[in-house]
Symmetry: C2
Subunit: 129 residues, 2 copies
DNA sequence: CCATGTGTATTGTTGTATTGATACACATGG
DNA sequence: CCATGTGTATCAATACAACAATACACATGG
């Protein structure tokens, strides 16, 4: 994996370390990052995005404690072998649930018709692909 | 408006004062809270949810500086007359865009088919109604 | 008039989250 | 062997959120 593949927004309200954690978590769940794959070094990521190496380290450590990454001492961090490759869609969908709950609640408070919301989200889902 | 209509989760990562701000903001945008409506007093809200009155006051002050609320001295806070009643759907939809962008990006990283995501969100949108 | 109800300013304290600077232990590979 | 590359433990700085306890200015309504 390349450091430039990580999208980091230092100005966002979402803490940097968590941006990294969630992004990597998702890419492992979909097997875009297969077991054994090496992640970019903390200094590499830090340099590429002008952030502190410790911030990246913190993200990696959390992922390790989740069992998603493995420390290869002296070499770096790799996607753990135990990280089940490509979890079933239903499990991956569950990862989105909190976000979707929030969205649904907000939409309700705005009294927006479901059709409008679904149509717009449909557009956004196309765009990226 | 009643204090019990406010949904507050003290344990969430989202700060309490902002939970209040955004909730009220949406209910005004959809005209569930029409201009002139009185909001529950800070002490009322604070009592009902076991939070600090100043936290509620902070939320109200922010909404006032946005022009959405008006101070009626000695009486309380009311939805401002200038708060356009029921903004058009397109504007309300725009308020959801950041959240939807995030969701779309996450779904993409999880390599989830759009249909799955849309179907699940559809369910959630029904539930609340 | 005055008790009672508004919101708010003030000051201080507490707990926590985030990021950063530095130094360290360790493994690799020429 | 040792320069160079890993990750990270440690301590500090900062900012933020929430609470607590007052005190205040003001308007309402009996």
């Amino acid at each position: 994996m390349d450091a430039s593949q990580l999208t980091i927004n230092p100005g966002a309200s979402e803490p940097i370390y968590r941006q990294i954690v969630e992004q990597v978590r998702r890419m492992i769940a979909s097997a875009q990052l297969p077991p054994g794959d090496l992640l970019p070094s903390v200094r590499e990521v830090a340099g590429a995005h002008a952030i502190n190496p410790m911030t990246v380290s913190r993200a990696y450590s959390l992922l390790e404690s989740e069992g998603l990454l493995e420390r290869l001492r002296g070499t770096g961090m790799a996607v753990a072998a135990q990280a089940r490759r490509a979890r079933p869609e239903s499990e991956r969908l569950a990862l989105l649930d909190p976000r979707m709950q929030d969205l649904a609640r907000a939409a309700r408070e705005l009294e927006l018709p479901a059709s409008r919301v679904l149509r717009r989200l449909g557009q956004l889902l196309e765009d990226g692909t």
